[in-house]
């Protein structure tokens, strides 16, 4: 396959996928190596310069999205808001789960200093966290972890973009 053709296929795949596609996945489909895919994505992105779309890197994959400056126009479509902003309580709980996973509700509540049932429910409903197992011990409490959707929801390319843990602690 010629590079120009490969570029078009990569663009089509990223558009058509209903989830962010990783360079690895694309590479397997088109039979090139991941660095070549990365280069093609860069090429596509630069060709989008005077259009409405761009490709962002999120959750370890590529995703076709509209440029942020168009958001005031797109809001006029009245597309239902899938993700209302999370409450501070829920983001605190999510932060703890992201770093401490797998973690139980009791452990989260111990760090936050308050009950966290509704924060956890809200995160579960949005599919940002899920039950990943049970902890050994009395009551075998549920262990929570973050989902693939977590990074996508916050536009994070990978967990490395989360703030580093301070050393003082």
């Amino acid at each position: 396959m010629k590079l120009a053709e490969a570029r078009v296929v990569v663009e089509g795949l990223i558009f058509a996928a209903d989830r962010p596609l990783s360079a690895q996945e694309i590479a397997e489909i088109i039979g090139l190596d991941p660095p070549a895919v990365e280069a093609l994505v860069e090429d596509i992105r630069s060709r989008y310069a005077d259009g409405a779309l761009t490709i962002r890197r999120v959750g370890g994959g590529f995703q076709l999205v509209t440029k942020p400056e168009l958001s005031p126009w797109i809001e006029k479509l009245g597309r239902p808001v899938i993700h209302a902003p999370l409450s501070p309580a829920a983001t605190e709980a999510l932060a703890i789960i992201a770093y401490e996973q797998p973690v139980t509700k009791a452990e989260i509540e111990q760090i936050r200093g308050v009950r966290s049932d509704s924060a956890l429910n809200s995160l579960l409903e949005r599919g940002l966290i899920c039950e990943v197992g049970r902890k050994e011990g009395p009551g075998r409490p549920i262990l929570y972890g973050t989902t693939a959707k977590f990074l996508e929801h916050f536009g994070l390319a990978s967990a490395d973009e989360l703030p580093l843990r301070s050393i003082s602690e």
Binding site: F15, A16, D18, T54, R56, V58, Q63, L64, V65, T66, K67, P68, L70, S71, I74, L77, R79, H83, P85, L86, S87, P88, A89, T91, E92, L94, A95, I96, A98, Y99, I111, R112, G113, V114, R115, S116, D117, S118, A119, N121, S122, E125, H153, F154, G155, L156, L162, P163, R165, S166, S168, E169
Partner: protein
Amino acid sequence: MGYVVQLEVYQGPFDLLLDLIAKNEVDIWDIPIATITEQYLEYLYSLQEKDLAIAGEFLVMAATLIRLKSRLLLPQEQAVEEEEEEAEDPRRELVQQLLRYKFFKEVGEFLQERYLEASRYYTKGQSVALYDLAPIYTQPVGKLALEELREIYDHLLRELAKEPPVHTISPGISLQERMALVRLQLVGKPRVSFRALVKDNTPMEIVGTFLAILELVRLGEIRVAQNTLFGDIKIQPYALELEVNA
């Protein structure tokens, strides 16, 4: 009667303590426990004066602070008894908890910011935009029977032929009273379903309860979720962890 409040903007006792430490501009490793305890209690008293209930976690922290204060006031004899062992600062554990909490609170704020930024990027609105890649439906028509199709069609035509029904509205109970009923149902429960709130199933009750829920959402007292079209509506108190029953 059960009464639900949210404690201003504080997410919990650690949040309140961090705010007091910041306001006093003191070193977190050298917290003036007497001053901070005093201010912490003052805050709780001010809530009481406003007739607001105080969540149990805030009271537990008050007790911890008072205990710390009394230990710091004790003469250092005990430390001497422990000989070589360095006398541990009784504040140490609290400070570690505070720092730990502070880190996650900041990550939470970072996530909030990232969310706002990320929400300006829109993904493709339709998933049908693929040629020859229609979804595979395991149940294209489900258990639908031909006879049902006819019944549905007949029913629609009968409804269409009817004169629009005239509804008389009786005063019934007020919106305020409906809201009070919904609040009452929520006391001590993580969530209730809309169907459970509607007992008599009369149009007045359904509409009245629905309006009460909309009003409570507007006031920020509850959150609602409906997972499927026409599905049951789940109602949760907002920020449950900061609520207590007076």
